[in-house]
């Protein structure tokens, strides 16, 4: 950035080795969150994009190819940043990519810096360290529509002259927005003169972001940077647009003392209802399709172990992966709409007081709520929590929320052991009260765990809660569709593999050793049955025998599987949780303390490989899921033991 605000010195023409035919130029899209960066990225790359994690961190790497007349350019969408100091994983990654420490050691051939023109001065502060890198840069100022509406003004040429790089003012959502970017990329491909390196000589070498340079207090560096940014804005005749009326009016409603929490509650109930109830027909439909296609394929194959492997192992495994998709897609649809419209930030402000009490932030509310439907989409949704420690804490406590897969287990055991008696007249029955108590127990465990985590492993001084409230905007179909597609791909590729493998391994365990006739053994004689016997001594203090042991092992595939397994073991034909035969069998085998112990075990234990798989993906390693599994197992064991001892 030019400190004097005067004309920049002649820019060095861009020339580099990118003309090598075997290498496509790499362009980094950088900028703060909510600046329209991802909208531009999606428009540039279309569906030719990939999402993965950067190695060793949980920051997502989105990259794709922009096709141009003279070739294609690799575009990488950096995480949204407020600066280049490595204070958060997002900013470290952005910084490392720009410095050529990631992306296979390649320094980007150019940078497209996307800034919100309505916030020109603060965003020019963000621009300064990026421009100082001296890479060929195009500054794209978005929100041109807001400038027009609010009678803002800016002399783009003057700003371009002062910054020494090309500047374009666009509405990121219009198709015309792509033109200057494509022109810039085209020039990059052909090595044209239009692409100039940022004139480093004219740049004030700010030391704020280089560790060696921390001689001045950081606050003074930023104050100086702010002055330079304001000088640039002034010199370019910048007049900020009037604040949006729509935003003011909507905030008056959404943050109103009474109406605000009511709207919040309505939104929350709506999302909850959608993932809890409306997803069910889709999930049933997906299961029915998998089952029907399985039957069809089974009909084509001769009977034998191969057919069983394919249908009972692989097909069923695929089914247990696909069944999560409707909930994931519905939840992410709402998250995308809420985030893109600007409401999510308001919801976080409303929920912040409550979440602050357990050491978390307002952003954790929606992931935790959605965990009541299923922890798998909830863990993925924790990505909306910006602070890394709070995000991990959110992921860690999400599986304590009573997910829908626990309900069949609760329903079976409550029906078998809790009499259908009224507790508070017609208002509350004993069974409902017990169910409510189980939900409450999970919540207490979650909040207690959050408090413990934030006091130990994830200890951090309470970070200042600084949340920007973007103006309200209409979400675009394209942005929502891209996000849904991203989540579906990530889930199927990463978690899907693990879930499928577990399903196949569990199938194998029921198939060996073969019976005397060469067929599959009875479940009690199978390797799985053997595992049940092996863990029996460990679960004996809880009052569980090998049969429950097998159920606990199979329920790792999904909690509700224990119902079917117990049905098989007890030789009950109808294997659902309303089966009176199964209830009677359990009543014979378990006393009240043991039954409550089993319920408590399911409240606490992480009996869900899908959650473990998705945690591994979202935390970037096995450390957290293993710790989580162990911690929840210990809690479950202790809880079940206590229930046994007390009742």
């Amino acid at each position: 950035m030019n400190p004097s605000g005067g004309p920049a010195v002649a820019a060095a023409e861009f020339s580099s080795g990118i003309s090598a035919a075997d290498r496509r130029p790499l362009v980094a899209l950088a900028g703060p969150p909510n600046s329209g960066k991802s909208t531009l990225f999606n428009a540039l790359t279309g569906l030719r994009q990939r999402v993965a994690n950067y190695p060793g961190v949980t920051v997502e790497r989105r990259s794709g190819f922009a096709e141009l007349p003279s070739g294609s350019v690799e575009v990488t969408d950096l995480p949204g940043i407020h600066g280049l100091s490595p204070r958060s994983p997002d900013q470290s990654v952005a910084r490392d990519v720009l410095l050529g420490r990631l992306e296979g050691g390649r320094v980007p051939d150019a940078v497209v810096l996307v800034l919100d023109v309505t916030r020109l001065s603060p965003h020019l502060m963000i621009a300064e360290p990026v421009l100082e890198l001296g890479l060929p840069t195009l500054v794209v100022l978005t929100m041109a529509d807001e400038m027009d509406k609010g009678d803002g003004a800016l002399r783009v040429r003057a700003l371009s002259r002062d910054l020494g790089v090309e500047v374009a003012l666009v509405d990121a959502r219009s198709s015309a927005a792509l033109e200057p970017v494509r022109r810039f990329l085209e020039a990059l491909c052909t090595g044209g003169e239009e692409v100039r390196a940022c004139p480093v000589a004219a740049v004030a070498k700010s030391a704020a972001d280089s560790p060696q340079g921390r001689t001045l207090p950081v606050i003074d560096l930023f104050a100086a940077r702010r002055e330079r940014a304001r000088a640039l804005s002034r010199s370019a005749g910048f007049l900020a647009p009037r604040p949006s009326r729509v935003t003011q009016r909507l905030d008056a409603l959404f943050l109103h003392r009474i109406a605000g929490p009511l709207v919040f509650l309505a939104v929350v109930v709506f999302v909850f209802q959608a993932i809890f109830a409306w997803a069910v027909p889709l999930m049933d439909g997906a299961e029915a399709v998998i089952a029907a296609s399985g039957r069809y394929v089974a009909g084509l194959l001769p009977e034998g172990w191969f057919r069983s492997l394919l249908i009972d192992g692989v097909w069923a495994g695929v089914g247990s992966v696909v069944v999560f998709l409707p909930q994931i897609l519905i939840l992410f649809f709402f998250i995308a709409v809420l985030e893109d419209s600007g409401y999510m930030a308001r919801a976080a402000v409303i929920a912040d007081r409550l979440m602050h009490r357990i050491g978390l932030q307002g952003e954790s509310f929606l992931p935790l709520l959605s965990a009541y439907a299923c922890a798998v989409p909830a863990v993925m949704a924790a990505r909306t929590v910006e602070n890394e420690r709070d995000r991990l804490a959110t992921i860690f406590i999400a599986p304590f929320m009573t997910c829908s897969a626990r309900l069949p287990v609760y329903a079976l055991l409550i029906a078998a052991f809790v009499p259908a008696e009224p507790l508070l007249g017609p208002f509350l029955g004993l069974r409902s009260a017990v169910l409510f108590g189980l939900y409450g127990l999970g919540l207490v465990a979650a909040f207690g765990t959050a408090a413990i985590l934030k006091g130990t492993l994830l200890k951090s001084r309470p970070a200042p809660f600084v949340m920007e409230l973007p103006p309200y905007r209409r979400p675009t179909v394209r942005s929502i569709a891209t996000r849904l597609l991203d989540r579906a791909k990530i889930f199927l590729r990463r978690a899907g593999k693990i879930i499928l493998s577990v399903a196949v391994v569990l199938w194998i365990l029921t198939q060996v050793p073969r019976s005397a006739e060469g067929g599959p053994p009875d479940i009690g004689d199978s390797a799985l049955g053997w595992m049940g016997h092996v863990i029996e001594p460990a679960i004996e203090p809880l009052g569980f025998d090998w049969r429950i042991g097998i159920g606990l092992v199979t329920s790792l595939a999904a909690r509700e599987v224990i119902v079917g397994t117990l049905g098989t073991i007890y030789g009950v034909e109808s294997q659902d949780d309303t089966s009176f035969e199964l209830q009677a069998a359990l009543q014979r085998d378990l006393d009240l303390g043991e039954a409550v112990g089993l319920l408590v075990f399911f409240v606490f234990a992480l009996q869900c490989m899908s959650t473990v798989a998705v945690m591994r993906r979202e935390t970037g390693g096995w450390r957290w899921p293993v710790l989580q599994f162990g911690y929840m197992l210990v809690l479950a064991y202790a809880g079940a033991w206590a229930a046994n001892a007390l009742l």
Binding site: P217, I219, D220, A223, R226, L255, I350, D352, P464, E468
Partner: protein, 97 residues
Amino acid sequence: MSGTGGVARKGIDRMLADVPLEEEVVLVRIDLVGEDLEPLLERGIVPGCRVCPVRHAPAGSPTVYRVDGALVALRRETASCLCVRSALEAAGLLDPN
């Protein structure tokens, strides 16, 4: 790194958390250090900037402030670390523009 950046004057200066809604003030000093400081600085909340509380969250905290054309929510604890001066009084002491 220290939380300086301006000279506080007794009697004139208040904490941002105590400023009533719709009163525009100028930030004088930030009583935070290191990691806590940077998220504020990066968003342009720097001594000399104008801040105006616009709305409290229904629970009373956080409060939404208008800073440099953007809306930023800060918790009461954070706003209690930001020392401010009324924009009118600051006009002679600092140059907010």
